[in-house]
């Protein structure tokens, strides 16, 4: 069957196996290359291979310790399922990416990050251990004290060290499902960066950035900070049921939009509208967890707005030493190209936590581009600017980075590739991405 990542580019013809037991999974590891797949929310080709193994039926929850908040669950369990089960008991994910439709295994493989990276770290910081199935179906328990090497290479290792069967993660105590949100309208990039630094102590922070704005308003942003609301922060009407929040309505995009819907003018108009709407909102508000963490989950299949050709994401991080010049150069290149990014996110990162983790102390910029020749032509320039400023790239978003660019900007992957060859992992576990990037 034909499968693709969330960006719907590339698409490949693949055999998709769906094992329902550990033994059935082990039987698939016969030496031929394959890659595990969860919810398919990596944007590019991370979870694509001629033989792809869906982990979605290995999705049992196994244990929960209400003293420590440690949850043990199989890799196919989704973050949404974890929230559904445990938020009503006062527990939330310690780290969550911008969608709840990802699997536990995928979150570990990509070492996903969230709005609290600067304050609390990446997903890996809350992984106590996992069981990894390697070549021949052998299972290894990996943690910070047991099989440390394999533990380190697997967090952020894009599924290329083996298949995570089950993992123990720590959830965080919360007292409500509400977030106290603070919104700051920044009129340009300098103001946005200043807002991030001024509010560094906020638990959660991110900014939507208008990539269509130029000149004096280049980099204008809506910076959003958040804190979990205590019961006392809630209006009396919500206090009795602090975890009950009206959910998303579940609207979906029923068909592929034609390619012309997203064009430089519509993107500009949308960004203008979005900035004005948010700049007018009150600076302080109480918002539900779904609206705060997962605004895009409100529209199912939102990737269809980019039409049949799909889209690509560009996400880089630029280190703190050179971030302002780097970000300015990227924004400048985008506006000169006229490619226009519909959804763009800016965020301050804290220090790198796991060995292969993408984040590092600095700023990350995530941009969506429809799959057009104009946008494709822009990518090498964005790659070059990122490299020149000492930055690096996020593989969970990538579908087209040249191998040499990755290895030059991020030498960790050279060691990773050597380790894979030495341990005999390269033949058994491979994705379209790992082959493209020579991992």
């Amino acid at each position: 069957m034909q499968i693709s990542g969330w960006g719907r580019y590339p698409r490949i013809q693949a055999k998709l196996s769906t094992p329902r037991s550990e033994a059935a999974l082990a039987a698939l590891l016969d030496g031929g290359p394959l890659i595990a797949r969860g919810m398919g929310r990596a944007y590019g080709d991370s979870a694509l291979a001629a033989h792809t193994v869906s982990m979605l039926r290995l999705n049992h929850m196994i244990d929960f310790d209400p003293q420590t908040g440690q949850l043990v669950a199989e890799a196919g369990v989704t973050l949404q399922e974890i929230i559904t089960a445990f938020l009503p008991r006062g527990w939330f994910l310690s780290v969550t990416p911008g969608t709840q439709f990802v699997s536990l295994g995928g979150a570990i493989a990509a070492d996903v990050h969230g709005k609290n990276h600067h304050s609390e770290g990446a997903f890996s910081a809350f992984v106590d251990w996992f069981d990894l199935m390697g070549p021949g179906g052998t299972v290894t328990r990996c943690s910070r004290t047991e099989n440390k090497e394999l533990f380190g290479w697997t967090l952020g290792g894009m599924g290329l060290t083996g298949i995570v069967l089950r993992a123990a993660i720590r959830l965080k105590r919360v007292h409500s499902g509400w977030i106290r949100q603070t919104t700051i309208a920044a009129q340009n990039l300098d103001q946005a960066l200043a807002a991030f630094e001024d509010t560094y102590s906020a638990t959660y922070s991110m900014a939507w950035i208008d990539c269509a704005a130029t000149g004096d308003t280049m980099g204008r942003s809506i910076v959003m900070n958040g804190e979990h609301a205590l019961r006392a922060d809630l209006p009396a009407t919500h206090r009795a049921r602090p975890f009950d929040i009206p959910g998303h309505s579940g609207k979906s995009i029923p068909f592929d939009f034609p390619g012309f819907v997203l064009n430089p003018w519509s993107v500009r108009a949308f960004n203008e509208f979005y900035f004005r709407m948010n700049a007018r909102k009150p600076a302080q508000s109480l918002v539900g967890w779904e609206n705060f963490f997962y605004p895009l989950d409100a529209v199912r299949d939102w990737n269809r707005i980019y039409g049949r050709k799909g889209f690509m994401q560009f996400q880089c991080v630029v280190p703190l030493e050179s971030h302002a010049e780097g970000l300015r150069a990227i924004l400048d290149a985008i506006s000169r190209s006229g490619a226009g990014s519909f959804l763009a996110v800016l965020k301050r990162f804290g220090a790198q936590d796991s060995r292969l983790s993408f984040p590092m102390e600095g700023y990350t910029l995530a941009l969506d581009f429809p799959m057009t020749t104009r946008a494709l032509a822009l990518m090498p320039e964005l790659d070059r600017i990122t490299a020149d400023h000492g930055g690096r790239f996020y593989l969970a978003k990538d579908s087209r980075l040249p191998a040499q660019t990755l290895l030059d900007t991020d030498p960790r992957w050279q060691k990773f590739a050597a380790m894979r060859r030495q341990k005999g992992l390269a033949g058994q576990f491979a994705s379209a991405q790992s082959e493209r990037l020579g991992l």
Binding site: M1, K15, S17, T18, S21, H60, M61, I62, A85
Partner: protein, 244 residues
């Protein structure tokens, strides 16, 4: 009436999705299947997620003499029973090997009908209960590609409709489910039209809603009702020449 559901054939993807759906609404869940070892992880999973009472019970749909003892050993007479027992079998094998064909007929018709018949008696004695049978669109008209399975499902559909008629004036309700294509172990590897193919979760939602709204016969993807209506009304002279 106790809020509990007995799920027969609990190892299937549809059964598992239904177990979660009913547990989400607070039902105690009784999982029954031949291989209870395979149920252990589901017992833990459902209890952990939904904080309900979950137990596993050995049940073999071909062991008709053991049915009464099986029901006696349950923690309670359930409020709802869902029968998801069934095997597709291989049509070619069913044509040439009477034992294989008998197994398909017994697993899809005899076993399910007899156990639900026994439960119906007990529901009648109590005066309430919901019986949900998972039949198939394959039972709506026999086709060359799977008529042994289809005939068994046709029998099961008729049995369910007969019970529904019998209990129409009582508090016992009977639901017939014809899921159409579902993305399960049974259909893995087939290139199915996504508009006609339901996810197990969708089937579970439809079944739960059917119980609540006391619906009689449900198809999960609405298109199936139209397709099967057309297939049923095609004159036999035309139908016999088709290859559907």
């Amino acid at each position: 009436m106790s809020r509990s559901i007995l799920i027969l054939g609990a190892n299937s993807d549809i059964a598992r999705a239904c177990a979660h759906r009913f547990a989400q609404d607070g039902y105690a869940v009784r999982l029954a299947a031949r291989d209870t070892n395979a149920l252990a992880s589901d017992v833990t999973d459902i209890a952990l997620r939904h904080r309900v009472d979950v137990t596993a019970h050995a049940f073999d749909a071909l062991d008709t003499p053991g049915f009464a003892a099986f029901l006696d050993a349950l923690p309670e007479l359930p409020g709802t029973v869902l029968c998801a027992v069934g095997v597709m079998g291989d049509q070619d094998q069913s044509q040439t090997d009477p034992d294989a064909a008998a197994r398909v007929l017994r697993s899809n018709f005899e076993g399910p009908a007899l156990i639900l018949g026994l439960l119906a008696e007990r529901f009648e004695a109590r005066g309430s209960g919901t019986i949900i049978g998972i039949s198939s669109v394959a039972g709506d008209r026999g086709r060359a590609s799977n008529y042994v399975y289809g005939a068994a499902k046709a029998g099961f559909t008729a049995f369910l409709s007969g019970m529904r008629n019998r209990f129409a004036r009582s508090d016992i309700h009977v639901v017939t489910v014809k899921p159409g294509f579902v993305a399960t172990r049974m259909t893995e590897g087939l290139d199915l039209n996504p508009r006609l193919t339901a996810q197990p979760d969708e089937v579970a939602d439809a079944i739960f809603a059917a119980q609540t709204k006391r619906r009689n016969v449900i198809y999960v993807k609405p298109l199936w009702r139209w397709i099967m209506t057309i297939i049923r009304v095609l004159p036999e002279v035309v139908f016999k020449k088709t290859s559907l």
